[in-house]
């Protein structure tokens, strides 16, 4: 194997060992996790750009290895600072688990489909679960949802991999079964709507650097699996493509609308992850159906971009004094650097031109428009253009709300006045990710393998950014030389503007949510005392969540019934064993 990768995995292993021997050992994290990230980035990019064909590190694996490497490079220094605020015992355990989790993710990419793959896949899920569960009682529901989703994903994969392991050609409807298993297994991990429910529960409760690793890195492995599975199980049947496009587009709109009803800063980010992943799945589905290079480009570019900007946003969320947007505000004064990094990432996440996020939407539009040349029902895919436009507009509103209410305006609670900026290592981590994001945005052609360059069509991104910066800089210079004075905000002459008069998190999105009947905001008027002024409380009603609750209750009732089998009666157990034996014999005998 590639010596760089060996070295990176050794570094991660050594870090875990050190955390066991001399906890908490957080001081070495920039070197070990960050250093391994650098090595992985170098090795992965090399394989990807050279379009390497040799397993295990071929071009596809190389892309994902580089993606993980870039994340580790940013998260490593950040973690050193972040974990130094934890008590030593806890920090030690996290320093032990995190490198193992990081190594397991890389291992998944380098192993062939089979036992090793399944082992590492489950190991990655288990380590992720342990790390989330370390957050204590508040994270209980989230970590359990994560665990259950991993079980579901594992079950689907087990089915598919067992069938694939028979080494016989897939005939007679078996390929449909295999692909169903793959879609269930990898789709759950990649938050395919409606299997996404675990993600907005689990990612917000994890600590910020872990959320960055989960949202930026781990969920991409589901996409990797689906893309890679073409090589394992042959070209996917037509329904897989249609399913991915349909559910992906529906899920993107749903997740954005639901994210607008979310008050938790990290919750909004988690729903935004669901949206991006579903759009990526739609792009992959389009690629399966049409084999258009636009979808291929969209799929790969945006995974890199999403890993970087979502990692950056989650790292930035670690500096916030509270998670509820309604209690934040005006933080750009106390956290100027975090605000700038987050703004850069929000610009990319909203899909605006000079940044990488726009390139994705641009390719996606052209992919859907190219569907008009298809046969049969394929031309109807052109309507996907409208959905992508809707998603683009909604994403912009969602990030305006997120960034504007958190970092701009006036502080909405005393807590928001007490934020403390992250120190050197935290800034270094975020700066690395921001730098990589800028490079990806301005020089997208540098990321492409030579073989794909002929398919590449770009809009003039560099001249456009140069024009923006040069003309913008000139205008700002002119304006800053103009006379100005600082004065109060316009208050209609009443002199009574208070921070409470700014829009709240749900107030901002209330009117927009009227367009989406599946997410409902209910307003309740209530008074604390007889003489207190009435206050408005907004509640979110979501029919998917209601359905999920029903399902969970039904499942619990079913489990209760099944538990009767476990009665301790020897006769019943013997009967069951006998029946199982009969079944096994029947299968073998034919």
């Amino acid at each position: 194997m590639n010596p760089l990768i060996d070295l990176a995995l050794t570094l991660l292993g050594l870090q875990s060992l050190l955390a066991l021997l001399r906890p908490p050992a957080t001081g070495f994290l920039p070197l070990s996790l960050g250093g391994s990230g650098l090595l992985l980035l170098a090795a992965g990019l090399q394989a990807w750009i050279a379009n390497a064909q040799m397993a295990p590190l071929d071009a596809t694996a190389g892309f994902y290895v580089a993606l993980l490497g870039a994340l580790y490079l940013g998260v490593g220094p950040y973690l050193r600072e972040y974990l130094s605020h934890h008590e030593p015992r806890r920090a030690g355990l996290e320093t032990f688990l995190l490198p193992l989790f990081a190594a397991a993710m890389v291992g998944v990419l380098l192993s062939p489909p089979g036992y090793t793959f399944l082992f590492l896949w489950e190991g990655m899920a288990l380590l992720g679960y342990l790390l989330i569960a370390r957050e204590g009682p508040a994270a209980l529901a989230g970590s359990r949802a994560f665990f259950l989703a991993s079980r579901l994903s594992g079950a689907g994969l087990l089915l598919a991999l067992i069938l694939l392991a028979r080494k016989e050609p897939l005939v007679g409807g078996l390929e449909h079964l295999v692909w169903a298993g793959l879609v269930l297994g990898f789709g759950t991990k990649a938050a395919l709507f409606p299997l996404h429910a675990w993600l907005p529960k689990a990612h917000p409760v994890a600590m910020s650097p872990l959320s960055a690793l989960l949202s930026g890195g781990m969920v991409k492995l589901g996409l990797y699996g689906l893309y890679r599975a073409q090589g394992w199980a042959g070209p996917p049947p037509g329904w897989v493509g249609w399913l991915l496009v349909g559910l992906g587009l529906a899920g993107a709109v749903y997740a954005l609308a639901r994210g607008l009803a979310e008050e938790d800063y990290k919750g909004v980010l988690a729903y935004s992850s669901v949206e991006n992943l579903n759009l990526l799945l739609a792009a992959l589905g389009g690629y399966f159906l049409l084999a258009s290079p636009f979808f291929w480009l969209a799929f790969f570019f945006h995974q890199a971009a999403h890993a970087l900007f979502k990692g950056l946003l989650f790292l930035g969320s670690g500096a916030l004094p509270a998670r509820e947007i309604s209690r934040l505000g005006g933080l750009h004064r106390l956290l100027p650097r975090t605000a700038s990094w987050s703004f850069l990432a929000a610009l990319a996440a909203a899909g605006l031109p000079p940044m990488a996020g726009f390139l994705f939407e641009w390719y996606l539009y052209q992919g859907f428009l190219a569907a008009s040349q298809g046969t049969g029902a394929l031309p109807l895919l052109v309507l996907g253009v409208g959905v992508v436009a809707l998603v683009g507009a909604l994403a912009a509103v969602s990030y305006v709300r997120l960034f504007g209410l958190t970092f701009l305006g006036q502080p909405r609670s005393p807590q928001a006045g007490e934020a403390r900026e992250l120190g050197r290592f935290g800034q270094l981590g975020m700066g690395v990710l921001a730098g990589l994001l800028l490079c990806l945005s301005l020089f997208p052609q540098a990321l492409l393998p030579a073989a794909a360059k002929e398919h590449l069509r770009l809009y003039p991104v560099l001249p456009l950014s140069l024009a923006l910066v040069a003309l913008g800089g000139g205008l700002v210079y002119l304006l800053s030389r103009k006379p100005r004075r600082v004065y109060d905000t316009w208050d209609c002459g009443f002199n009574a503007l208070t921070p409470q008069m700014q829009l709240g998190a749900l107030g901002y999105s209330e009117q927009l949510l009227r367009l989406f009947p599946f997410v409902e905001l209910k307003a309740h008027l209530f008074r604390q005392g007889l003489l207190d002024p009435p206050r408005v409380r907004l509640e979110v009603g979501d029919w998917l969540l209601a359905l999920e609750t029903r399902l969970a209750l039904g499942y619990a009732a079913l489990a209760h019934r099944v538990q009767r089998l476990q009665s301790g009666s020897l006769h019943l157990y013997l009967l069951l064993q006998f029946l199982a034996l009969l079944f096994a014999l029947g299968v073998v005998w034919r």
Binding site: L390, V400, L464, L468, L471, V486, P499, Q502
Partner: protein
């Protein structure tokens, strides 16, 4: 080139529109060149920075203007003498739409910056409007592109018998988008004095002097960019853009004299026609309907 042209033309368009509207309403009205003088006056004034605002407050008008100006640069104006002006490549209409979005993103953020209640209201209203408008606009332009067999604005073929159905649907969608994006009646009232009912103006409440001048200029240019998009679909050759300008000028003046502003909560009803026209236009291309 077209950006510079629009920069010079925008104040004339908005100024003369005010004058013509006043005449229709039996008022004397301002000088048609009033907007040039107003911009010059605003540019020379002191500007006020609200307490505790961020650098975005200054950046927003700049990016708003640049977004529109760069979007205008992608607009190929067919003129009789100079051939085609502007930068063009496949998929350029998407870059154009998203450059307009870039300006709006900054503007909507800056509205939250001062921490006033009205700014926030303007901000989310504009957001709602963009969500309502964008699918229809992109679908209509995409349909026109597919009908002309090229995704580059420069190669959009003009209205003809073969593509009449698709183009008329697309033109209706784009005209509705012009009203919404230009903040004109029946979507928004550019002359209102009441902060509570404003959409576009509520976001600019705290910007003054040169910053306000940039915002006003970019709002005028945005109207012209949408007019330019409409002109691309019209069949009058080199005269398309002047014709579209004249149509927009007359249409807006009459609409704002005889029409009323819609209640804000009724906007989705109006703009759903925009989306519907876009969808129908795309279906028209895909299913190859002909009249």
């Amino acid at each position: 080139m077209s950006a510079l042209l629009f920069l010079l033309l925008a104040p004339l368009f908005t100024g003369s529109l005010k004058w013509f509207k006043a005449r229709l309403q039996n008022r004397v009205g301002p000088d048609p060149l009033y907007d040039y003088k107003n911009l010059l006056k605003l540019w020379r004034k002191t500007w006020i920075r609200p307490q505790g605002s961020s650098p975005l407050f200054l950046l927003a008008p700049v990016v708003s203007l640049l977004g529109v100006a760069l979007a205008a640069a992608f607009l190929p104006l067919k003129s009789a003498s100079a051939g085609t002006l502007g930068i063009s490549f496949a998929g350029d209409f998407l870059v154009l739409v998203y450059l307009l979005n870039l300006g709006r993103f900054f503007q909507v953020l800056a509205a939250l910056d001062a921490g006033s209640a009205f700014g926030g209201q303007g901000s989310y209203r504009e957001g709602l409007l963009s969500v309502l408008t964008e699918p229809g606009t992109v679908l209509a332009l995409g349909a026109a592109g597919l009908a002309s067999g090229s995704l580059s604005l420069a190669d959009f073929s003009p209205l003809s018998q073969g593509n009449a159905l698709v183009y008329i649907l697309a033109l209706v969608a784009l005209s509705l988008a012009l009203l919404a994006e230009g903040a004109r009646m029946p979507v928004d009232d550019p002359t209102t004095h009441l902060e509570l009912t404003m959409i576009h103006e509520a976001q600019l409440l705290d910007h003054s002097g040169p910053l306000l001048a940039l915002y006003e200029l970019s709002a005028g240019m945005k109207l012209l960019v949408y007019t330019g998009l409409i002109a691309l679909l019209l069949p009058f050759g080199g005269l398309s853009f002047p014709a579209a300008l004249l149509l927009a000028w007359l249409g807006l003046a009459y609409l704002e004299t005889y029409g009323v502003r819609l209640r804000y909560l009724r906007l989705p009803d109006l703009m759903s026609y925009n989306t519907l026209m876009g969808i129908l236009a795309v279906l028209g291309v895909v299913l190859r309907f002909r009249i």
